[in-house]
């Protein structure tokens, strides 16, 4: 078997997320597997570094799949792109060790959450930013974010109630900036993120920045280990998977 690693950029607006599940149609994984079938004739499972929700985007998602026959990577990349709609783009195809597994070998991830924090929305980016028209105090958000950096049990920031595995994760950094056009960017870097974790943290930080929640409440949320204690889940459209580290 030959193992191929893909780096993929996609606009998630038109898809029901990454993962094929039962009858779920129109997923990124499904589109990639169809393209691999068309190009190579082989039925391969395209394994992603992690699932992205419906509407979530990726600048550089990583996936891998195995083929029985050997193929030339540059040609494969071109042919896959020709077999994909223009909202998914394969940035690179690389032959890797057969033991490489895009999810199990991932050591870290970066996610970016974009908020258009102005009265008027950005009409050209409405699928790529969350438009939030009430002013956010990013100094308050930074203070709250500091309390989340480090190793913690993030159970309160996970939507999956039936999570049996550990909910302990490490966040290396959360960087929050505002540009001159009123875009607030929150860049998350961690060793892994639970289901909906980035969106729930973002929703909670927004409540802090809006002044309706104290910075210090972050400590209580972490202690509670209860999803109900955290803030609302921020919309999918603002979220972008930026990088997967190995």
């Amino acid at each position: 078997m030959y193992n191929y690693k893909l780096i993929i950029k996609y606009d998630g607006s038109g898809y029901n997320g990454w993962q094929k599940q039962g009858n779920t149609k129109n997923t990124i994984q499904g589109a990639l597997e169809r393209a691999v079938k068309n190009v190579t004739g082989e039925e391969a499972e395209v394994v992603g570094s992690g699932r992205t929700d419906a509407g979530v985007h990726a600048l550089a998602q990583v996936a891998n799949f195995k083929l029985i026959r050997h193929v030339e990577t540059l040609k494969l990349k071109e042919q896959l792109n020709r077999n994909l709609q223009d909202d998914i783009c394969i940035l690179s195809v690389e032959e890797v060790d057969t033991r490489f597994h895009s999810r199990l070998n991932a050591k870290g991830k970066k996610y970016l959450y974009r908020i258009q924090n102005t009265v008027e929305s950005d009409v050209f980016c409405r699928n790529y930013k969350y438009h939030y028209d009430a002013y956010l105090d990013i100094e308050l958000m930074r203070k709250a974010a500091e309390l989340l950096v480090g190793e913690h049990d993030f159970k309160s920031f996970c939507s999956n109630r039936h999570m049996k595995k550990s909910t302990v994760r490490t966040i290396y950094s959360i960087d929050i900036t505002r540009d001159e056009y009123g875009e607030v960017r929150i860049l998350y870097h961690g060793n892994g993120f639970l289901y909906n974790m980035v969106r729930i943290i973002t929703g909670t930080l927004i409540e802090v920045g809006r002044g309706v929640r104290d910075c210090d409440s972050i400590k209580d949320i972490l202690c509670a280990c209860d999803r109900q204690s955290a803030g609302a889940t921020a919309p999918a459209c603002g979220l972008i998977l930026v990088e997967v580290e190995y």
Copy 2:
């Protein structure tokens, strides 16, 4: 009567262009007129500085409309935005002299044409740029563009065969740049543009940049006064109305 001037930003992807015409549904003008009706109760004609084609965008289109009753502009702006989908945004509402006419008083216009000139498309901008994957030599394009600057009869660059009015226009400048990500931008500044003129010029410049047409052929095209002599019409999605000058 009170006269109101609008500055409008829109993503034209989902619309059949600016102008209401017979049974044409889903136009920018139609959406604006419905919003004005909802907010003020008055049936006003919203006159644009010019039509944009289906799929063409605007950073700052200008329009005006007249009302019998006086309204407060800041409130009007807010209410119009609340009555519009998030792909159209009113940037400003200003009360102007009753003689102001957004089309007849326009003295100049700037249009930007964006080309993603890389093998891979930009998945997030596929509705806002023309993806052209064969390399364009922008030095050749600049040479050809120079021949179009100035006052000329642009009949060869007009799709309207039954144009009865003058087809003489002045182009003040055509600036062509390429950024580090392979985006080629062509910024047009002129006193006015004929139907499809920017898109036909762009299509012709692309043929020059690709090396399939000589720079000097521009002179012949201008002399011919025949649409057939010019290049193909470039796709609507790359075109953005940037500014209207008065």
